[in-house]
Structure formats: C-alpha cells, structure tokens
Subunit: 215 residues, 2 copies
DNA sequence: AAGCAATCTTGACACTGTCCATATTGAGCA
DNA sequence: TGCTCAATATGGACAGTGTCAAGATTGCTT
C-alpha cells in the first residue's frame, strides 16, 4: 500500500508494489520478448507474463486488447529494428555497388534473424498474418519494411548501368532466399551453425551475378 | 449401447458406436490434417479431434503419446508426399537438363506447399523442430527428403558438363529460396496469388543461370 | 474538492493437455 | 470351447490457459 509520487522522478525504481505501476506497457513488451526467447512460443502466457511483472492476470488487457494484439506489438518492434538493419548498408550513393557490399547485406539480414529470432518468428509467422486481426500499425510497419527493402534493391540495380534485372521481381525472389535461409536456421532445421557463413556467401554471389545478368 | 460383431465385416460401416473402432489411428491423422486446414493450428485440439471422431477425449492417447507425437505423425506423411513431388521431375537420365525442367520443378515445389499448407507448416515449423521431442521416424523421413533433393540437384549439375557450381551449396541456397517463397505465400505475407507464377519463373531463371555460371 | 477516465484487481467460465484408475474388447493359448 | 492377457477405450480429475464482467483504486483535469 506504500504510495509514492511519480510524475517527477523516474517511476522505475523497483521495490514495493506501486500505485499504478506507470510503466507497464513497455515492460510487458520486453518481458514477452524475453519469455519467447527463453521458453519459446509455448512458454508465453498472459498469466505468467503478468505474474512475472507482479501484476494481476488481467492487468495487461488494459494495454493490449488481446494476446494477439500483444504479439502484434512485439512484432511491430521487430520491424522497426529490421528496418534499421536493411537501411544501413555500406552503400555510397552514386558509386557502383560492390560484391562485398551485397555479401555484407546478406550477412546482416541473416544475423538479424538469428539474433532476434523471437521477433522474427512473430514478424513473419502465420500466427499473425493469417489471423485477420493484424493491428493496423503493424501492417503499416511491415509494409514500410518491405518498401525500404525494395528501395535498397532498386539503388543497387541503378548503380549498375548495364543491369537489366527487373528490380521488383529480383527483390521478391532475393527476399525469399534471405527469408528461407533465416527460417531454416531459426526454426532449427539447419542446425549446422558453421554453414551459415558459407550459405550466406553463396547466396550473395548468386544475387551479385543476378544483378549483372543480361536478358 | 448397441453392440455388433465385427471381425468378419468391414469395421468401417458408420452408424452406431462400435466395439473397438478398429481404424482410429488413420482417422486421427486425417481429421487432424482436416482441422488444421479448416481452422488453422489454433483450431486443432486433442479433445475436439476425439469428439469429431466420436471417441472419448483420451482415446487418441493410445495411438499417439502426445499431441506433439500426433503432429509428428502428420508431418511425416507430409514428407512422404513431398518426396514424391521432388523425385518426379521431367528429367531424362543422361540428357542435359533444360530450363523448362527447372521451371517446372520450381512450380511443383511451390504448388505443393500451397496445396498442402497444413502439412508444410508442420514439416518445417519450429513447433516440431525446436522441441527436442522429434519422433525418430520423422527425423528419418525428413532427412531422407533432403537427401532426395540434393540428389536431384546433383543430377542437374552433372548433366551440364561445363557447370562449376558446388552442388551441395547450391542445393542449400536454392532450397532456401523455394522454402522462403513457399512460407511467404502460405503464411499470408505475399497475398497476391497471381505473383506466384512470376516469382516462380524468376527464381527458376536464377537457378538456371546459376547452374551455368563459371567460377 | 469533485468527477472522470485510465488503470488495476478479483471472480468466473469455458476450454485445453494429460495423468490415473477402470472398464471393455479381441486374439492367442489351454 | 473357455481363460487369460494385452490392446484399446472410458470418465474423473488437475493444473493451466485466454478472456469477459463488475468492482476497486488511482491520477489528471476542471
């Protein structure tokens, strides 16, 4: 029942149970991601989540309409992170894209999916996308991420004056390759972690050659 | 309470509740796949499954140790089907592989994943592969499927005398592409069904050119 | 100070996977 | 034929789940 002022000081001091908690939504998102990472999808329940945060079972429902909505929130954050990875290539405007740059790009994407597997699975899982209950903000964030990806490919393609590849189609297929590799790895089908680099390099070389191919 | 003889007649006559049912395991697998297809993963529960088949909730547990084991059984069947698709290319032994053959192969794979989405999701989902409870028979069936795939690629590569591609690496990456396209489609991220053919063709052309590339 | 909206809590309900003891059955052996 | 035994099916029970409805608490605004 101890009560403390909170508007001025940082509300996140830990200790006794506070009044209104103040920072829940944020902590829910983080704890959800943590649970997903540690125990997998089966280990994430609304009740356990609430208990771990020291609030009642239904408290989270004032910040997320649904479990679904919560997962959408987590995925949304994943897309924001991914966008930064995709958008920050070592690509100098005007200069011709190099094979090394493509290789680095591939490595970054795959590495992101591994480092953020909890997020990645949600971001591109049927759980959310086949549910007809996608948060509008998530749909926006996802659409945006793909737009950034296409824009990136278009820059590559335009930097090579002789390239005849259709940028959109190439974007779709190359993304499929990246996505496929990532899923096979994080879903536990490709266990050989040392194969990651070899596969990434092979994929990068394929992309690179594809960009130069003439019709 | 009506009771009937059963040893001589076909036990699967429908009508009143029979003695020992006799054909359960098979029907469980089918009904599970049906439920997955109609209502998605969330719509499949052991209890509903049993109820739909007219048996008690725990009856399925005499044929599958677990829900997990049941899903493994379904996935296993999926792998058997996939193997047939992969193994039956229009490829004439000895003749050089044609671009059209590659294209057809890609189409077949993607089409399989769409037509058997319920199976595909299980076959390559984290649900099973990250669970440490994979049925041994499933692990075998899966391993076999990938072996058949590699063998196929190797045939292609050997049919082109000038090809310098590393067959194993190319198999890994091309499979990633196929898997990525399939997942993006069946998970509902690529909604545009008309894009399937275009993407498949683009991927096929990429594979084809890759097979011919010189180091 | 009063009121209101946001936030949190408790209780309840239907549903889930799965263990247990029990009942039914079919097949193999005397 | 009759008896036994393992395979199969059943209902009860338990802990766990998502989520709704009603009530309590709190902080902000007027």
């Amino acid at each position: 029942m101890t009560n403390r002022q909170s508007s001025l000081v940082e509300p996140c001091e830990s200790g006794d149970k506070p009044y209104h908690h103040g920072d829940l939504r944020r902590q829910i998102l983080d704890e959800a991601a943590r649970l997903l990472k540690e125990e997998g999808e089966a280990g994430l329940s609304m009740r356990k989540l609430a208990q771990n945060l020291g609030v009642s079972r239904t408290a989270p429902y004032h910040h997320f309409k649904d479990k679904q909505a919560l997962l959408c929130g987590v995925a949304e954050e994943g897309f924001r992170r991914l966008r930064e990875v995709v958008r920050t290539p070592p690509y100098v405007e005007g200069a011709e894209i190099s094979e090394a740059a493509v290789r680095l790009f591939v490595h970054r994407y795959v590495q992101f999916s591994i480092d953020n597997a909890e997020y990645y699975e949600l971001m591109f899982g049927a759980r959310l996308w086949k549910s007809e209950q996608l948060t509008e903000s998530l749909r926006l964030e996802a659409h945006n991420a793909f737009k950034v990806y296409i824009e990136q490919i278009r820059l590559w393609q335009q930097s090579i004056s002789t390239s005849t590849v259709d940028a959109l189609r190439f974007a779709q297929v190359s993304w499929s390759t990246l996505h496929g590799m990532s899923r096979l790895l994080i879903d536990g089908i490709y266990l050989d972690a040392t194969a990651i680099n070899v596969m990434s390099d092979t994929a990068a070389k394929m992309f690179w050659q594809q960009l130069y191919i003439q019709a």
